[in-house]
Symmetry: C2
Subunit: 332 residues, 2 copies
């Protein structure tokens, strides 16, 4: 493994000059540069990232913390973050947060060891109180979520508005009894979706029955269990709104296994618009989140935060209700 010293020796120059040519910084006589380049080629020299890291006290690595990498929507955002990160010379260190049992405290240790330059969270648990101290010390941005009253850069869609769109659509189809299969209660976007649900109901002069709100974990099994339970309890509902497509898949199966047809008996709406949403049976009506755009803005904001620029805090991107075939007019 050739080092900068080897190159310097072979080229007959100082290591400073070699550094100048590899970083294209400062003046180097053309002829000297050629000698150095030749030596680099001859020795198959590649500057060590480790040496640079130490010297510059940075790693060029951003940690991406996700709730559940198995969810295609999450994968899509991560993929795009990687893409943009690379264009800025960064790499991404992936961490699955919940499922792998990494606590906020452990995450903290991670940055403290300066193995990374900062982090992008794809999830924001309200209980993550350490957010504030974390983001005060290291570049942090929230993607897909935001934490109110905290001055942390974030980019997401407006979950309340998106839920309102879904609810208005369902209400317009005549549905009055709508099950909400929500995420964990301490999750910010779950909270917003619940708010949207409540607001829409109120606007329609309907009362929110807490029994109609379920908290699922992010698996089809979990949604299946929630809907099955509602069915067994003989709750009366004609529509189900799931806060992710993955959940919707489980809900649809529960309905079917109970002998119900989607959408003629019960309408179902998902969230995210993952790649197979259109391929399910029935094609899923869902809320599209702009994964690529979220990733792009998240990375850009993160770079800004790194540069000490104050990012405009909560950036809200446009969602879109994608109407396919999993909803129908309520039968009279």
């Amino acid at each position: 493994m050739a080092t900068i010293h080897d190159v310097a020796r072979v080229a007959g120059v100082s290591i400073a000059t070699v550094s100048r040519v590899i970083n294209d910084t400062g003046y180097v006589k053309h002829e000297t540069r050629e000698r150095v380049d030749a030596a680099i080629a001859q020795l198959d020299f590649h500057p060590s990232a480790i040496g640079r890291n130490l010297r510059q006290s940075k790693t060029n690595i951003v940690m991406v913390i996700v709730p559940e990498i198995t969810n295609p929507f999450v994968g899509d955002v991560v993929r795009h973050i990687e893409l943009y990160a690379r264009s800025f010379g960064y790499s991404i260190l992936l961490h699955e947060y919940m499922r792998n049992g990494m606590t906020a405290e452990q995450t903290l240790r991670f940055v403290e060891a300066r193995r990374i330059d900062g982090m992008i969270f794809l999830t924001a648990e309200a209980k993550l109180k350490e957010f504030e101290q974390l983001s005060a010390k290291w570049p942090t941005v929230l993607a897909c979520e935001y934490v109110d009253h905290l001055a942390i850069a974030s980019v997401s869609i407006d979950n309340i508005a998106a839920t309102l769109d879904v609810m208005h659509y369902l209400l317009a189809l005549g549905h009055r009894d709508i099950l909400l299969v929500n995420g964990a209660a301490d999750n910010i976007s779950s909270r917003d979706r619940l708010r949207g649900y409540r607001i829409a109901l109120e606007q329609a002069g309907l009362a929110l029955d807490p029994a109609y709100v379920y908290q699922a974990v992010a698996t089809p099994e979990s949604a299946y269990a929630c809907v099955s339970q509602a069915l067994r309890a003989e709750m009366c509902f004609t529509a189900v709104f799931c806060v992710s497509d993955v959940l919707a898949i489980g809900a649809i199966k529960a309905l079917r296994d109970h002998g119900l047809n989607v959408p003629t008996d019960v309408s179902v709406v998902g969230f995210d618009d993952i790649a197979f949403a259109a391929f399910l049976d029935p094609p899923l009506t869902t809320v599209r989140q702009p994964a690529g755009e979220i990733a792009k803005r998240a990375m850009e904001m993160w770079m800004q935060v790194c540069a000490g620029e104050s990012a405009q805090y909560p950036v809200l991107l446009r969602h879109e209700l994608i109407i396919r075939s999993s909803c129908a007019q309520k039968r009279t």
Copy 2:
């Protein structure tokens, strides 16, 4: 940011002693250790990974190269790799290979810069000739795939045997005209699956018609296009074997859109057994790959390779044909 020098000064010892206590190496008098621990706590000192990296010429980071992070099966393997990696003190740097346009050469540069200690590939393109040179220089293991005649540690299932299982099952149900929706031709596991397909056909005294073999990219759209084309060409087939569940989802929709029922008109088999395979309609018959086990072995082998131990090369794990409801007896 406190450094080891600060701790040494506060504790009234040398930095060598501080190093000894934080690494628990060598002898340190109990009382001295306590003083150092107190100083560490007081200063909120955390040893810098960067400093260690340089000193030890290693990063404790393993790059995981995946074909398509959006595929839940891939996500599952990655998730487990991260889990095991962390238990060994490693973190994972994620790279999506194909879709993000990272070439093998770029990957090479990456290791050359020693930003990582080695890599685990979840995909093996035959064209990746650089594999050999790569693995000769840096710890490399292949997960989910293997490259024959190359002395690279690998862990995967036996794709030929798995395909044989699927084909025997389909053949036993009376199917004779079976579409194979395969992956890219230069992909090792695609090649093996094609082999299994051919062998099963030969054993049954059937000829392989190349028109029945499609090459899809890893999206439901792609499988949809393949099956639609077969349908438009009025090819006669009663079963479709897709080399991933993601593909199967697209195939099923193509069949449905053509007015065909799955499984009564056409049987469909997938591969991977992703989390929602059981929740699809119909529940998908598929080949389960042991994602967690693959990840575990991959990480273990990688550690062995790092340690210079010669891993027993191709490790083959058990697959399992999961029979659900997407296949039926061929109608007479």
